[in-house]
Amino acid sequence: MALARPLPTPDHESAEFWRRVGAHALAVQRCGACGTVRFYPRALCPECLNDQPDWVPVSGRGTLYSFTVCYRPASEAFADRTPYIVALVDLAEGVRLLANLVDCTPEQARVGMPVTLAYDDAAPGATLYVFRPEAGAA
């Protein structure tokens, strides 16, 4: 029997982030003082230490910064989807996220290609963000 996929365990610094992902409305924090946009969420701005961030909804547009096609799963939980693509995506808002690139063959993936945000309701109460090639990009 396949193992359950590891899912995020929100804590008090990330609960709002994951709540928004669950609502299919990914947002990132922007520092209330210096304006630096940050991922992952944390209580203090890692640049100026201000602790009053705003939440900025993202446009969902991004660029593939890098990727790797995993031919050996990280664990049994990923065996049934192997090979799968893990990607680093630069969002238009200026942050970089790691996530899966889906609806894209290994041959189609290329660094620099435009990608768009989507959501994977991986389990009840646990939604993950994913990226797919922008229409016409792959």
Partner: protein, 385 residues
């Protein structure tokens, strides 16, 4: 602040424990075994050790190890920043010795990861609240391999680096291992072999990846004055530097530039030397891409030129850039924190103990450790004065 270096501090003892697959021994035992051998190598007694630098034996590594060997150090350091830690410990120990806080420092490490089968692709289970657990583990990134693969993909896209060029590193390293009687993998290897091995996480093949072995290592460091009365040629600390830049790969600012771009220039400045002065280099080779990035960042070639630099077996025996002369983590051993083995080999080369793999007239060596997912860096430049 004067970058005076630590020319009054010397490495006087180095040793490995038994290496490979050592199912009958514990990790702390391997560290102790290496320590005993390193002290014997130095001609020093355990009772003289008053500084202890180790990690990995529970939450208080040096405290646990101190109990095991009944050490009651004046200076204790259980820092851990991944595979670069033992190289950084040279800086920590040199600073402590120079400040008079201890006189004989023992740096040691042991692991039974091969026998424990601990090196699973998904990494070790960690606190679910850590950023790695929340923002990377759910997406199935094989750790640490996948992060290095992401760096390799990026380097290839930006600079045109090829899998053949990465394979050059694995092949040259194997040629050195063939000259080391205690290396695990000594059989012939070709670029075609590397490229024909399975792709685990593109673009990295199985033979782009280090071994998984058991083993331990130890270093004994003291004052140069004390070293005068000891058995071995003292190897002095000319320059050291350390840093870390991120813990998880999404937080690495540029996947083609590692912390070595900071530690290299600082270590060279402290030593008053440059890349052209290095006779032999021992650079952490967790993966072939690790070496390529580090060579560029340390200034042995310009950024993006690493592939051309390692081409035509330049780093193999007989080439003009002797690199990872004991066979590296790719072919000699890799118990998980390879940094200590870069230092052991550098010291042996500088002493002229390299046997059939000895680099002629080696008087200045560079060691570089990389930890985590290109997360931490430590550089040490050592010399025979």
């Amino acid at each position: 602040m004067k970058p005076a270096g630590f020319r009054d501090v010397a490495l006087v003892g180095v040793a490995e424990s038994d290496l490979g697959r050592v199912p009958g021994k514990t990790a702390i035992q391997l560290a102790a075994e290496a320590s005993a051998r390193a002290l014997a190598d130095a001609g020093l007694r355990k009772s003289g050790v008053d500084g202890l630098f180790t990690f990995g034996f529970g939450r208080m590594g040096a405290v646990q190890f101190g109990e095991y060997l009944r050490l009651r150090p004046r200076y204790s350091d259980s820092s851990f920043m991944g595979g670069s830690t033992p190289v950084a410990f040279i800086a920590h120990a040199a600073a402590a010795i120079s400040a008079g806080l201890c006189q004989v420092a023992l740096v040691c490490y042991g692991s039974t990861q091969a026998s424990d089968a601990a090196r699973k692709l998904g990494g070790t289970p960690e606190d679910p609240r850590l950023p790695s657990s929340q923002y990377e583990r759910p997406f199935g990134l094989p750790t640490p391999l996948g992060a290095y693969a992401l760096a390799a993909t990026r380097h290839m896209a930006v600079y045109g680096t090829t899998s053949d060029q990465l394979a050059e590193i694995a092949v040259a390293t194997r040629s050195w291992a063939a000259l080391n009687p205690i290396a695990m993998m000594r059989g012939p290897l070709t670029i075609a072999d590397v490229l024909a091995s399975p792709v685990i996480a593109s673009p990295l093949h199985r033979l782009d990846c280090c071994l998984v072995t058991d083993g331990g290592g130890a270093l004994v460091i003291t004052t140069r004055e004390r070293a005068r009365d000891l058995a071995r040629v003292p190897i002095v600390v000319l320059g050291v530097a350390e840093t870390h830049t991120h813990q998880i790969i999404s937080q690495m600012p540029d996947l083609t530039v590692t912390g070595a771009a900071a530690t290299g220039p600082r270590a060279f400045a402290m030593a008053g030397l440059g890349p052209g002065d290095i006779d032999v280099a021992e650079i952490y080779d967790s993966f072939t891409i690790t070496v390529l990035l580090t060579l560029e960042d340390l200034g042995f070639c310009t950024k993006g030129e690493g592939g051309a630099f390692v081409a035509k077996q330049r780093t193999a025996p007989g080439g003009d850039f002797p690199l990872n002369t004991q066979g590296g983590g790719l072919s000699y051993c890799h118990p998980g924190v390879f940094g200590i083995f870069t230092v052991i080999e550098a010291v042996r080369q500088l002493r002229g103990e390299g046997g059939t793999r000895q680099v002629a007239d080696a008087s200045v060596a560079l060691c570089h450790g990389t930890g985590g997912v290109l997360s931490s860096s430590g550089t040490a430049i050592l010399g025979r004065l």
